[in-house]
């Protein structure tokens, strides 16, 4: 991946001016870089080109003299002569624009796209002033729903093929197509097959006219009334870059920003339309204190006083671990740091955790060699042992799909049940928990018991030391305890020391939580608890000297009456902890539960005190995505009611306890993080905003990342709706996949922490998997994109997409059970808990396995997963 590209440059002349362009680069892009904008509609830098709209016709010299050629379809070649401003070009472009307008309704005043419409803009810039078309325009019923979220107005459509190309080529959901011929060509869905894609909203964003509109945004605002800030989506751990737009202090829309290393401009629908929850009138807007069975509003002052007294009396009992903190995925890095500092530096307890049995141990995460997303998509091969990427980190699925379809990498998937990655995988292998140790040890050895995997990786050039292999590591099956996955990862990491890991856990900012010590036994910077520097000790006076409890231990302690005060900061263990039966009975036993939340969740509804927290877009800060990239979050609207940012709440509590956390702004918190955590060294708000802008910064920051990337102009036509000039980064190509930070100088990949910050090498601990009891079946427990969550429940247009908990078995197993699809089954766990489910036959589930899709189990008090089991089995019977 050479940075010297001069050999690959060609010289072309545009309107008599000589310019240099990359060999093979499309003329339209090369011209744009040289400052010559060629008008276009169908061209999109993230889609394969089709040359259909003909707006970009320019004159190009060829063997038969100058002829009109589409600039979006023509790669530049040395000596190419191009004319973009001749009479002939002007006439052709005017002609195309006139054609596009003859059947286009001139309903701009009532069209959502009006004001940010490429057709409108280019008509102003290029088109003839008046229409010569006096005939009747073509008519269609308008608009028609093509999915729950997207409406289609075929009268406005200019048949540019962008939405259809996106659906087919990028998303792999070819559910919209051209229908009909001539000027009655339309885009439509197939009968009874709606455009039910997780990515449907992207078609609305890339539509160059108002043909596709999103139900949640329709008629909500006019573009010129919107103001916007750049931010990052925190729906999952991907960290997609977005533009947050609002009108009159209400969020109206998120648009995907094209960050080359992250989301390429795409978003999933859950992220894109999630803003509705923030506007919800069901938000908590004032502190609430429990009075018997209900809450009454209280003041911040009295709430803080109550907390102070409860904490003080718990502290008086002598054991700081009688106070616990469970942090959730809503938090920014600054929020996390402030709460961890409150817990470990002020209250003096190490009982802080941020994962709800659906993650991996902080020390394990910290010890694995990390891969970036770009390294993963260009790896020689990928081993996937992860939850369904499309369900858990949807946009990463798009990046992986692109990589496989482009032949950049090959994937092998191992697991216990089918996933969306299977279709992209060269090899899929079913594994049991008992096989994992051997698999990890012998993966690249001749003796491998998984010859298909080994053969694929060897053929792909993966080294015996794992060089070139990226492991997508997540929680493939929540019915297996996390320790199984941790042991596998450590074993594999020992056997293949040069393999890298991309942690594909779902929860937003899980990486920030680990990096900032929101797990037991760790400090900010992935440092072990005992290794605090002098500087840290000065700022964290109350630092405990012994390790505290993780979530599971806290819940067990609570059951035994050993937890006096529990802070739930944006976490809802009653619903989200994998063993919800344990979480529910344990939380009932805690002396005093403080919940800092945005909605009354299962847990906060039963808390003793509820504090109203600012939501996304109501506060600024940073978040760290799954690859370890720190990204900015910007405030766009004022917090609702009396809501405060979580970091400020921690500060207030500290003050009430007689201590000062020492910061009064999110930027101030970040400054202290950079001071205390060697991992975050060099990071500051200004630097994040100014130097690396859209891509964020990988931590630890390496010396070479100080170089500023070349800027590319924003293609407003590719990304309508985003005004102004934002640094878009270079279009991606395999050769562009060089991280700022990964230099050839020290051959150390970006994202890999320097040795001083790593917790020492960890040994894999293999716990004996229990034998499958007679009459019990394997359990696969998985999560869907639209499984549960307060955010979904409070988004008016997403709530009806929430999937119900369901139970899937293969047709063979269904036959054995004597139940057919739609029938009812009774599931019993080893501890005797029962739940009744509707059965769905799905042959991607292996025989003798039951796959449970996570829904809202806590409501019935049923949890198929028991946290004291390494591997969970269940009994399934006809109900």
């Amino acid at each position: 991946m050479s940075t010297d590209v001069s050999q690959n440059l060609v010289t072309i002349s545009i309107d008599g001016k000589e310019i240099q362009a990359g060999k093979g680069e499309l003329l339209i892009a090369a011209a744009e870089k040289a400052g010559v904008f060629i008008p276009r509609f169908c061209y999109h830098n993230r889609l394969p080109q089709v040359g259909m709209c003909r707006m970009c016709l320019v004159e190009v010299n060829g063997p038969r003299g100058f002829s009109l050629q589409p600039a979006c379809y023509l790669p530049v070649s040395d000596g190419m002569e191009v004319v973009t401003e001749s009479e002939k070009v002007k006439k052709a472009q005017d002609g195309v624009l006139e054609y596009l307008l003859i059947n286009h309704p001139l309903d701009c005043p009532v069209c959502d796209k009006g004001g940010e419409c490429p057709l409108q803009d280019q008509t102003m810039a290029y088109g003839p002033g008046e229409s010569r078309f006096v005939e009747e325009k073509r008519h269609w019923e308008k608009p028609i729903p093509i999915s729950d979220l997207v409406l289609l107005d075929r009268e406005r459509c200019i048949q540019c093929d962008r939405c259809t190309r996106f659906a087919d080529v990028v998303a792999g959901d070819a559910l919209i197509e051209f229908v009909g011929r001539g000027d009655h060509t339309e885009i439509n869905v197939f009968p009874d097959r709606p455009f039910s894609s997780y990515f449907s909203g992207n078609t609305v964003q890339i539509c160059p006219v108002g043909a596709l509109t999103a139900v949640p945004y329709r008629f909500k605002a006019r573009p010129w009334d919107l103001s916007q800030v750049e931010s990052s989506c925190t729906t999952c751990s991907m960290g997609c870059r977005i533009m947050v737009q609002s009108s009159q202090n209400e969020l109206t829309r998120y648009l995907g920003l094209d960050a080359d290393s992250i989301n390429h401009g795409w978003l999933c629908d859950k992220g894109r339309f999630g803003h509705e929850a923030i506007n919800s009138s069901d938000r908590i807007t004032a502190p609430l204190v429990r009075k018997g069975d209900s809450f009454v509003e209280t003041t911040w002052a009295s709430a803080l006083e109550l907390i102070s007294s409860k904490v003080s009396s718990a502290q008086a009992a002598g054991d700081p671990n009688r106070i616990g903190f469970i942090l959730g995925s809503r938090l920014t890095n600054e929020d996390i740091y402030a709460w961890v500092k409150l817990a470990k530096g002020v209250v003096g307890t190490d009982s802080v955790d941020s994962q709800l049995g659906d993650g991996l141990k902080g020390e394990v995460i910290a010890s694995l060699r990390r891969a970036t997303i770009n390294e993963a998509v260009s790896a020689k091969a990928i081993l996937a042992f992860t939850g369904d990427i499309k369900e858990e980190v949807p946009v990463l699925f798009l990046r992986l799909r692109e990589a496989v379809k482009s032949g950049w990498t090959k994937i092998a998937t191992i697991g216990t049940h089918g996933s969306s990655l299977d279709k992209l995988s060269e090899v899929t292998a079913s594994v049991s928990a008992g096989q994992l140790q051997l698999l990890a040890k012998e993966l690249m050895k001749e003796s491998s018991k998984f010859p298909e995997l080994t053969k694929l990786f060897t053929n792909q050039g993966v080294g015996a030391d794992g060089e070139g292999l990226v492991v997508l590591l997540g929680r493939e099956n929540l019915a297996w305890d996390q320790s199984v996955v941790e042991a596998f990862a450590l074993e594999l990491s020992r056997a293949l020391p040069r393999a890298k890991f991309l942690l594909t856990l779902h929860n937003a900012n899980f990486a920030g939580s680990v990096d900032l010590g929101a797990v037991p036994n760790m400090l900010p910077g992935r440092l072990p608890l005992g290794s605090a520097s002098q500087a840290t000790r000065q700022k964290w006076a109350g630092l405990p000297d012994r390790a505290g409890r993780g979530v599971k231990e806290m819940l067990v302690a609570a059951l035994q009456g050993e937890l006096d005060v529990l802070f739930l900061v944006g976490s809802d263990p009653r619903e989200d902890y994998v063993d919800s039966a344990l979480a529910n009975s344990a939380l009932d036993q805690v002396g005093f539960v403080v919940s800092v939340d945005t909605f009354l969740s299962q847990s906060s509804a039963k808390a003793d005190l509820v504090l109203p927290a600012s939501s996304f877009a109501e506060k600024s800060g940073t978040t760290t995505n799954l690859e370890g990239r720190v990204l900015t979050l910007n405030q766009k609207v004022a917090p609702k009611g009396l809501c405060r940012p979580d970091w400020a709440i921690a500060s207030e509590i500290a003050l009430e306890l007689g201590d000062d956390l020492g910061f009064d702004s999110a930027a101030g918190v970040l400054d202290e993080i950079a001071e205390v955590s060697p991992l975050h060294w060099g990071l500051s708000w200004n630097r994040l905003v100014k130097s690396s802008a859209i891509e964020g910064m990988m931590i630890p920051i390496s010396a070479t990342s100080l170089s500023i990337r070349p800027k590319a102009m924003l293609d407003e036509i590719s990304t309508p709706g985003i005004a102004s000039v934002w640094d878009q980064g270079l279009p991606s190509s395999k050769t562009a996949y060089v991280e700022n930070g990964s230099t050839s100088a020290d051959d150390k990949p970006a994202g890999e922490p320097s040795s001083q910050t790593v917790a020492g090498p960890l040994e894999p601990i293999w716990r004996l998997a229990p034998v499958q009891p007679l009459g019990f079946m394997n359990l696969a427990y998985s999560r869907k994109l639209y499984s549960q969550g307060e955010h979904l429940r409070n988004s008016a247009h997403l709530v009806h997409l929430v999937v119900e908990a369901k139970c899937q078995v293969s047709s063979k197993t269904a036959e054995k059970l004597g139940v057919s699809s739609g029938g009812s089954v009774l599931i019993t766990d080893k501890a005797g808990g029962e739940g009744q489910f509707e059965l769905e036959v799905d042959d991607s589930v292996p025989n003798d396995t039951v796959e449970l899709v996570r829904g809202s189990f806590s409501i019935s008090g049923f949890s198929p997963v028991r946290s004291d089991e390494t591997v969970n089995y269940v009994k399934v019977e006809r109900a």
């Binding site: 040359g51 259909m52 709209c53 003909r54 016709l57 002829s67 054609y99 073509r138 000027d183």
Partner: protein, 431 residues
């Protein structure tokens, strides 16, 4: 009596059966070809100088030479004949399917194709039945399949019906359709299917009539074929004569041996115009072609001769308009066809064809204005800049620039008639 090549057996009872075909020496050309090297077979076709019979008139042997020599190569026979007034292939597939199959197999052998396809217009119900039956018979006879006639050459031949789109006669749209996709012409580059064609493999696409000539060329030699006709126009051509003539139909004629006038008036051919009317215009090569007037009737029926007169011989379909037919109505009907059949892929053709049709319809119905004529020409100019022949184009394929031909011809040759429609607010002709 002139030489008949492709229609030699037309009129023979049950000409479509294998037994009839064998009785007339059928499949001996294939046997002969298989005893030659593929290069020699190719050389015979080169020597014949046969121009492709699909419309573009590119030399068949030269096209074969352009085939990229990849291990997988395809031969596709284009039988999607669906332009108004073009019906020559229709005759051949129904009356002599074995001749088509034999020519296809010889060609497949010559170019080293690994599989051959016949893509036939879906509306040719009888043709489809006859070709499929013939394929089945030929398989049973050992002419198709593994180790043909013990020669060691093997190939499968697949019949694929079209689904009703005119555009699928465009070779790259045909390939897309054959791949199971929507029939959108492919954008160039790559310029030729011979490099990247069906399923991305090098592919030769030849017309039904082209293929049907091949057995005769192998039997009689390329030289004998080249001896027929004149200049680049070698062999015979099947002319589909229609319009206001007494005897419309298919006529196989040695190329350049007759003029338009002879074709129209010869009692053995067109038999003259009905009711003693006179020729108003002739559309010489399908509705894509510019029209010629009565002053050009003495042009010989040859490729270059017609091209020099500013039109094309195209698919060999010839429409005669007499002095009782309305030029405006004719133009409107032709533009209506193109607007219905535009695939909708690129803007100028999709929107332009509909617009032109609407204006033409308006003029025909009497609601036109004089400025509509300039508008029509300018709208056409935005599809085919300069309105030259052969045309330039702003579109992906040549369907777009086919639209202006009739409009420009109509306005140029019959401006007065357009003006009568406009001034008298209606069509002066009786329909």
């Amino acid at each position: 009596m002139s030489t008949k090549i492709v229609t030699a057996r037309v009129g023979v009872p049950e000409s479509f059966l294998l037994s009839t075909y064998l009785g007339h020496g059928g499949y001996s050309a294939l046997r002969k070809a298989l005893s030659m090297t593929p290069e020699d077979v190719h050389a015979e076709v080169m020597a014949s100088g046969m121009l492709g019979r699909g419309g573009a008139g590119f030399e068949a042997g030269r096209k074969w030479s352009m085939l990229k020599q990849d291990p997988i190569r395809y031969l596709v026979v284009n039988g999607d004949e669906s332009e108004p007034s073009t019906f020559k292939d229709h005759l051949l597939v129904e009356n002599d399917p074995h001749q088509l199959i034999e020519g296809t197999l010889i060609t497949a052998y010559a170019i080293g194709a690994t599989r051959a396809f016949i893509y036939l217009r879906g509306e040719f119900a009888l043709g489809l039945e006859r070709v499929q039956t013939a394929i089945n018979e030929a398989y049973a006879y050992g002419a198709i399949g593994a180790n043909i006639f013990g020669s060691g050459f093997s190939i499968d031949l697949v019949l694929q019906p079209g689904a009703g789109a005119y555009i699928c006669g465009e070779e790259t749209a045909l390939i897309e359709s054959l791949e199971g996709k929507r029939g959108f012409p492919r954008i160039k580059p790559p310029y030729f299917p011979a490099v990247i064609g069906l399923y991305g493999a090098p592919t030769i696409v030849n017309n039904v009539e082209t293929m049907s000539n091949v057995p005769w060329i192998i039997t009689n030699g390329g030289k004998a074929f080249a001896a027929l006709g004149k200049g680049r126009s070698t062999g015979t051509r099947l002319f589909a004569l229609s319009g206001d003539v007494v005897k419309p139909g298919n006529y196989e004629l040695e190329m350049t041996s007759k003029t338009f006038r002879e074709l129209i008036y010869d009692p053995d051919l067109g038999g003259g115009l009905r009711d003693g009317r006179s020729v108003k215009a002739v559309i010489p090569g399908g509705v894509s072609a510019p029209w010629i007037g009565p002053d050009n009737l003495d042009l010989p029926l040859g490729q270059d001769e017609v091209a020099q007169a500013g039109s094309m011989l195209g698919s060999g379909s010839i429409i005669v308009l007499d002095d009782h037919s309305c030029a405006v109505r004719a133009v409107w009907r032709i533009t209506k066809f193109f607007s219905r059949e535009s695939c909708g892929q690129c803007t100028p053709c999709r929107e332009g064809s509909g617009w032109i049709e609407k204006i033409m319809h308006r003029i025909e119905l009497g609601s036109g204005t004089e400025s509509d004529l300039d508008l029509l020409l300018d709208v056409c100019d935005n599809i085919a800049p300069g309105l030259t022949w052969p045309p330039q184009q702003t579109t992906i394929c040549v369907l777009g620039p086919s639209i202006p031909s009739s409009v420009v011809s109509g306005i140029k040759m019959f401006r007065d008639e357009f003006m009568v429609h406009i001034k008298e607010e209606g069509c002066p002709f009786v329909h």
